[in-house]
Symmetry: C2
Subunit: 222 residues, 2 copies
DNA sequence: GCATTAATTAATGCATGCGCAAATAAATGC
DNA sequence: GCATTTATTTGCGCATGCATTAATTAATGC
């Protein structure tokens, strides 16, 4: 008996996501349902359902007769995404500070900060990116708003997709961890205003760095 | 020949949305795919696809073997939603002010405000709700961030769903239009800080009113 | 040779049916 | 009578096939 594990739809969602992230399914490219179906070795039905889901997540677009198009991300798109992240994450930071979490709750956040330090010391880009993700995810979780979590996760996905390219265009942001520490401390001390504002500026800064970088390299899309 | 209009999936999405909003499909109720299928007089396939879409919009939940559950909205959910709206709309207001729109661009906004005045004068709840929706939608549009538009639209949907109940629990918010005017003026004059802060407080106020109202009426969900 | 129309091809939307697993009911052992 | 096992039902996941319609190519008129 083969396996009864995850459904084909779930596999399709995962597989397609992975291939979009890896660039295997390139941004801007079109793909017929049948093409994806026999790529994933299943019938069109679960592929269609997976594609519907991914469309809802903003990763691709359904264009009847033309196939599904993997959505490219323009610099403008990135600016939009960063603005959403800025607003929602800084709100989460504010809330996290108000909820007076104990050190136990903040353990993961602290760990992420330490890991980023280590990654910077070791000059390990991937490790840094991973820890940075964890910091932001955890921050949002501490904010306690499940809808914000979901939206931020979706937007972060897009950023991650772009980061494959952008991460190697610049040095490690060694100063960025100062902000993380400030936010962490503010949350710990219940200083909501500082948590909010610091994180806001942190994100705004990241946005301007990125937009500038994209401009400099004349990247029209990712 | 019957009609070749909108696809069955689209019809299913529309129909189901309408029935959820009208309460015909009650919050918290479960429904089998086959039940919905012959309710809408089509096969399960398009219904499944529609349901997938609506799940992505947070209106229902798929629970294999138990049917699709129409998601109830608790007071906590409403609080979450209002926080998202507060952050993203006030950002949009800020941006709208920075983009120096001319009076032409702001025409719809102005009209919505006038319509709310008229509705208050005429004590017309539905007209007020409609104009209020248009104000917020238009405000966000003027902010120029398509992702924020999409997210706000989704969240507003949920609020609208709840409003069917809540609108009749309280008098018309006659003072609310003062805020709208202030925001409008700030946008017109390019005063981003005022636009942002005024709208933020406007939304926060709306949130506390609603939460209080739900508490008073002991509503566990909508 | 170009434009308009007809014929062909191809991709999708959707209905249908079947196998499987979960939920429910029945049966059996103790 | 209760618990555990076995039978039955039921709802879903998915493959398959067909009709519809858009896209493409061929054909025809001028």
């Amino acid at each position: 008996m083969p396996d009864k594990g995850p459904s084909n739809v779930q596999r399709a969602v995962q597989e397609l996501r992975a291939r979009i992230f890896s660039g295997d399914l390139a941004a801007g490219s079109d793909h017929l349902e049948s093409e994806l179906a026999n790529l994933l070795e299943m019938s069109r039905t679960p592929v269609r359902e997976a594609v519907l889901t991914l469309e809802g997540q903003g990763l691709l677009e359904l264009r009847p007769r033309k196939g599904v198009r993997i959505l490219p991300l323009s610099p403008d798109d990135m600016a939009e995404i960063y603005d959403v992240l800025t607003e929602l994450e800084s709100h989460a930071a504010e809330r996290a500070a108000q909820l007076d979490h104990d050190d136990d709750d903040l353990a993961d956040l602290a760990r992420a900060i330490r890991d980023m330090d280590a990654a910077i010391t070791g000059n390990d880009l991937d490790a840094w990116a991973d820890a940075d993700d964890r910091f932001h995810t955890e921050l949002v979780r501490l904010g306690g708003n499940s809808r914000i979590e979901a939206i931020v996760a979706m937007m972060s996905d897009q950023v991650r997709r772009a980061r494959t390219t952008t991460l190697f265009m610049r040095p490690l942001p060694t100063k960025s961890n100062e902000d993380h520490r400030t936010v962490y401390q503010a949350i710990r001390e219940g200083d909501a205003a500082t948590a909010r504002e610091t994180h806001r500026q942190h994100r705004q800064h990241a946005k301007s760095i990125l937009v500038e970088l994209l401009g400099k390299h004349r990247l029209r899309f990712l």
